[in-house]
Symmetry: C2
């Protein structure tokens, strides 16, 4: 199970222009094809931060004329556009290597609890920055906005805990049939279950690393790899004494996390995701950068979290 | 293989508001669940006209601020939002009937030829109507616009022939595993194959009925049903002598089509789709309305095109 960051799939400036996205995803898929060539069965998930921010902003700008797009719909839309680019570029990377492995991308929902505390206290910043006057207006319309540093105000949305990947059976069936499967993009479409209506999408975003841990558990993955832009999780990040974490137990990593070593909304959820996966499945979770995945799984680089002390 | 119209999945006024789409799709999925309860294995595809029109307009309105969304990306996005609504509402309709049948929705591409004559002569009207002055401006930007009746000018885009449903193997694998599968929504994401890059999306729309005929052939469907808002294809539509077509051979239907009985962009492509399917597979193609599908397949109502004269 491999989770790719949404930032890794946009331009260097963080703007998710179509051509930049395709180019970045093609680079990532070259690494994924390499894993496939080594015989790994791969389930892929991905973030969508810059992409969903663009769609939300687009919808807001057009809202007077075209019915606005709810946040869960924006998330769904990024599954399709990123999924399409993965299909195109991974097909090509596999064909270049002479590997006749098919790829499939699923529209996929993640169940969340309607009474998740995240809904009462929106905490995840998304989309564009605005000035205070505009934020005040949007707060009057029921949205949550907060001043975030010098760039201005940013919308906060609910980020509930993922409970179940609803479309995991399709991912499992495709995996069994020999496909590389793209599933639960952007953490999955946030969905609640209501008595009368059944499943219904809700306006929220789900942390893609936590969903990746859940999906990895559901598909019985041997290893969960969170690919990011650094080689490993780091102690004392940004200080002179900074050093990467190599092999570590879930207990040790939980202690380090509780000591505040990992930033919220950045390395924090990645550490939480690999720790949960290792605790629940007794398998290994890995944090590393995309080009180093194969080496990291083999134990040469990256952070590897073990359910017990490594031998 | 069942193809649903895009108009059937939006509000009565043709505006694709999120709640209206969910409501309309829930009604359609009740009929689909009924088919499943009768023991049919179902592959589902759908149109996306109103939905893609909205997205394109949204993108145009925001184009000065957010990178514009290419037309193929808009099409992909509608696969995800409609797919999500089908998953939610069909899950519910099946659960209500006590049917433990899983549903999956695929991001799916359709191969077209880069030298398809459709690219040289864009002919498919999509999106909003504008005044002549605005159309003239957009023509200067390389787009094609045409005056269409009293409502004004409308953009014309290429509508190339579908050559192959690229993601049909995933649909087939899911079908084999017992899923109801949603595939090739909006006719599939228009995709060409280039020597250096492999598969690449292109700005076009593909007729969803023609893609449905192709997918039906690829998944070896027993029957192709084009669900529309009338009970059957009609001779002399809109005249006092109008009467529905019941059982008909492919040859007879081709003759009627060549005599101009079926409108371009409306009944025309539906007739072409069922005729192609029946010619290529020697199976039966059906045109009818959604609530009548089961009866139409059984031969009681609707238009049924046969590869040879029905016994």
């Amino acid at each position: 199970m491999l989770a790719l960051g949404g930032n890794a799939m946009s331009g260097a400036d963080g703007v998710a222009r179509p051509d930049d996205q395709r180019e970045a995803i093609a680079v990532a898929m070259d690494s994924v094809a390499e894993l496939v060539s080594e015989g790994h069965e791969v389930v892929l998930t991905h973030g969508n931060g810059p992409q969903v921010g663009n769609l939300l902003y687009t919808s807001e700008l057009a809202a007077g004329v075209v019915p606005p797009t709810p946040l869960d719909w924006c998330g769904a839309q990024t599954q399709a556009t990123i999924g399409m680019l993965v299909l195109d570029t991974l097909d090509q990377a596999l064909a270049t290597r002479g590997l006749p492995v098919p790829v499939a991308a699923l529209v996929s929902r993640t169940l969340v609890a309607e009474d998740d505390p995240g809904f009462a206290k929106p905490s995840k910043p998304i989309g564009r920055y605005v000035q205070q006057s505009e934020a005040a207006l949007l707060v009057e319309h029921g949205q949550h906005w907060r001043e975030i540093g010098a760039r201005g105000w940013r919308r906060l949305v609910a980020s509930p805990e993922p409970v179940r990947c609803l479309d995991f059976p399709a991912a499992k069936a495709l995996l069994t049939a020999g496909f590389v499967v793209v599933c639960s993009g952007g953490g999955g479409i946030p969905t609640v279950r209501r008595e009368a209506e059944g499943y219904v999408g809700v306006e929220a975003v789900i942390d893609k690393d936590l969903t990746a841990a859940l999906l990895a558990e559901q598909v019985l993955a041997d290893v969960l790899v969170i690919a990011t832009d650094v080689e490993a999780a780091v102690l004392g990040f940004g200080t002179p004494g900074a050093h990467p974490i190599g092999d570590v137990t879930t207990e040790e990593l939980r202690t380090l996390a509780s000591e505040g070593h990992f930033a919220d909304g950045s390395m924090g959820p990645k550490v939480e995701a690999v720790t949960r996966f290792a605790e629940r499945t007794r398998n290994i979770g890995v944090i590393t950068s995309l080009p180093l995945i194969a080496q990291a799984v083999a134990g040469a680089v990256g952070t590897r979290v073990h359910p017990v002390s490594p031998a």
